[in-house]
């Protein structure tokens, strides 16, 4: 039987990403990874794209990973894992391996939305039995906070710095979660470490489904977001409560919003504590702030409609 998702039971399980890694204190990525790995009762083999998580968890003779782990390059965590998973299938067919193993790829937003997008798309289309997890901190953090296609509108980064003429990033985020859903894969979800039980349930569900799965998990970065080191979970919660980062899943084409904030907070609650949005509060950038809020509202409305609309497609559960 699966370990119940209670803190009491989970606290008895071994953490598979150990302490002593070199990620910044207060970084959102390690708790995300720990939650993902805690959620699995199966042995997991992971691949990892180049990025903060990768460079900080396996340096020289040390590794923080207690599971088999492979880093290949920046843009190919999905292709690499597709190779691992295929070898597993080959050896299993030949009777050389009998264990049930799950395969999880971890990539940052840069390694997933941008440079690794083709590799991800290809692996999903080919139908490998794997879960791809993007820990989305909204920029290329490892190389010093450069803009990615996941960087939010208006954010200040080192390559779209907020200046007197250009007020930070002028484009909206690429909606990768929906793009992955458009691949027609059986399971796609968004999660946040603030809602650990929702996150872990989604991982569990994903691992029970055969075929390619994708999860996008918001992962606060205090260095890049210019926020307090102890605010990662708070900020990821505000991202959910302002509907900036809706928690939802799309299972076989049916959309379900898994967490609906009782009271939808204004977007500024999420933006204010972050230095990367500081310039948005100057009077000349008011339009941008308004646009950011309008975008969030529109997206949220659309998502709720989508939930309503796809409900009819839900396959009734067998009794």
């Amino acid at each position: 039987m699966a370990t119940p998702l209670s803190l009491k039971e989970l606290s008895k399980k071994e953490l598979l990403l150990t302490a002593g890694h070199r990620m910044c204190s207060g970084c959102g990525a390690p708790p995300v990874v720990k939650m993902v790995l805690l959620a699995s009762d199966y042995p997991v083999v992971a691949s990892n794209a180049t990025g903060c998580l990768e460079v900080s968890t396996c340096i020289s003779e040390y590794t923080a990973w207690k599971i088999p782990w492979i880093h290949n390059a920046f843009e190919n965590a999905a292709a690499t894992l597709s190779g691992v998973e295929t070898m597993y299938r080959s050896l299993k067919k030949q009777g050389k391996i009998d264990k049930e193993i799950k395969f999880i790829a971890f990539g940052g937003d840069g390694g997933t939305y941008d440079i690794g997008f083709q590799s991800l798309s290809g692996a999903m289309e080919r139908g490998h039995d794997m879960l791809y997890i993007c820990y989305d901190n909204g920029a290329y953090m490892n190389t010093g906070i450069q803009r990615s296609s996941a960087t939010p509108l208006g954010a200040d980064t080192t390559t779209c710095p907020a200046g007197s003429v250009v007020p930070g990033k002028l484009q909206e985020r690429k909606d990768l979660t929906k793009i992955m859903a458009a691949h027609g894969i059986p399971y796609v979800a968004q999660a946040s470490p603030s809602h650990w039980s929702d996150l872990m349930k989604k991982v569990r569900k994903a691992l029970e489904i055969k075929g390619p799965k994708f999860m996008n998990i918001i992962s606060p970065c205090n260095r890049g977001w210019r926020s307090a080191a102890n605010d990662a979970i708070l900020l990821s919660r505000l991202a959910v409560e302002t509907c900036y980062w809706p928690l939802y899943e799309i299972e076989n084409g049916v959309t379900r919003v898994t967490v609906k904030p009782k009271e939808k907070k204004p977007l500024v609650d999420f933006l204010k504590p972050q230095g990367r949005f500081k310039h948005l509060f100057a009077p000349e950038n008011e339009w941008l702030l308004k646009k950011a809020q309008d975008d969030v509202n529109a997206y949220w409305e659309r998502l709720l409609k989508e939930e309503e609309f796809t409900k009819s497609e839900e396959v009734p559960k067998e009794q």
């Binding site: 340096i59 020289s60 492979i70 880093h71 691992v84 070898m87 080959s90 290809g122 692996a123 080919r126």
Partner: protein, 394 residues
């Protein structure tokens, strides 16, 4: 030694070798002139003639990435490519070798863009010569077939564990029909043996991490260790060749010499053009000119000492390159040959010709021209041009 004589193309021969080796996983992407290998191979897959699981990826970058993942996972892996495909794999080539993964890749040599050209040329393989892979070059379909089979044994040798690229000339060999001898399936299966795993990623009881970050404190030791392994390769290549001779009757070395022992002038040339050159050398011998040839087989690691010993007694040597090294004074093969004889006090005069780029034919008259020039240099000690393009419009 049950062998079957067949008339097949180079690609067909390589595909058949791969069927006989029967790898666990293959990931590949189409590119002329290598596509044909994988088309033939996937038909073996579709018809249940091999156990191989195919990954039909969306790019060569992903092909090599998936090969790396599959190989680290713990099984036998192969792929094939050419030209732009190899170029797209570039960063992964170093990762495959640096991670010591015994992947075998058939490289069907083709020119690089721009301008776009799909024909035989060594620019692709030469560009990847220093990426830590072993390279075996093949004159004809028979050698391509034999090298493919031997490549797995070399790559997977426990003292080596490095990827191997087997090269043959695009179209000239890949698409021409030749008479070749196939070993029987059982002999090949026995020869390559069961795949031996080393630190497999799928061993969940003994978790390993592949692909660490290594800072200046240890990186250099890693690279030196790689270089040291490279130095063991020639010995293993010769051992494997000995075993291969037992099942095939065909002899392989680090390079082939043709009428070289008593030669005064010689050609050094890779792959298919060596065949044409040998015919012309015979004619020159008939005319009383002591001509010979050296054709490298193990091009990386390059057996400098052995090559130097084989060439040092000649008076004049021409190195023919089917690729140029832009910005360097000479072609890539020339530079290796020059390095191998550099230490000798008495050594041949070396000249360099660039030939056959983008599939331009290498004809007997080209070899004649070069051998006449070498004979003249041997007589007078005078060189007109050290490097030039031949068979090209002025």
């Amino acid at each position: 030694m049950g062998q079957k004589i067949v008339a097949v193309t180079g690609n067909e021969a390589v595909a058949n070798a791969l069927r006989q080796v029967n790898p666990d996983v293959s990931a590949a992407y189409p590119i002329t002139p290598a596509t044909d290998i994988m088309q033939r191979f996937t038909s073996f897959v579709s018809n249940g003639l091999v156990k191989t699981e195919m990954i039909l990826v969306e790019s060569e970058h992903s092909a090599m990435s998936a090969c790396i993942g599959a190989s680290a996972a713990g099984g036998r892996v192969m792929t094939a490519t050419a030209s732009q495909g190899l170029a797209l794999m570039w960063e992964l080539l170093f990762i495959a070798s640096g991670s010591r993964l015994p992947i075998v890749m058939a490289l069907v040599n083709r020119a690089l863009s721009a301008p776009l050209n799909i024909h035989g040329d060594h620019s692709d393989g030469m560009g990847a010569r220093d990426c830590g892979w072993i390279q075996l070059w093949s004159e004809n379909a028979q050698e391509a077939y034999d090298n493919t089979i031997q490549a797995f044994r070399i790559a997977e040798h426990m003292d080596i564990r490095l990827p191997v690229m087997t090269c043959m000339d695009g179209f000239i060999i890949s698409h021409s029909i030749e008479r070749i001898e196939y070993l029987d399936d059982y002999a090949v299966k026995n020869f390559v043996g069961e795949y031996k795993q080393l630190n497999p990623l799928l061993d969940i009881e003994h978790p390993v991490s592949y692909g660490p970050l290594i800072l200046p404190d240890y990186y250099m030791e890693f690279r030196r260790a790689h270089a040291e392994v490279m130095s063991k390769v020639p010995g293993v290549v010769l051992d494997v060749a000995k075993d291969f001779e037992k099942i095939s009757g065909r002899k392989y070395g680090l390079f082939e010499t043709y009428r070289l022992d008593d030669a005064e002038v010689g050609l050094v040339i890779l792959n298919s053009a060596a065949g044409t050159s040998k015919d012309v050398i015979d004619e020159f011998r008939n005319r009383g000119i002591k001509a010979g040839l050296l054709k490298p087989r193990l091009y990386r690691p390059f057996p400098y000492e052995e090559v130097g010993e084989a060439l040092k007694h000649l008076k004049a040597v021409c190195v023919l390159d089917r690729a140029d090294a832009f910005g360097a004074s000479y072609g890539p093969l020339f530079m290796d040959i020059a390095s191998s004889i550099y230490h000798y006090k008495n050594k041949p005069i070396l000249i360099n010709k660039i030939y056959g780029l983008g599939g331009r034919d290498y004809l007997p008259e080209h070899a004649e021209l070069v051998l006449n020039e070498l004979a003249e240099i041997a007589k007078t000690g005078k060189v007109k041009t050290f490097k030039e393009y031949i068979g090209v419009r002025e």
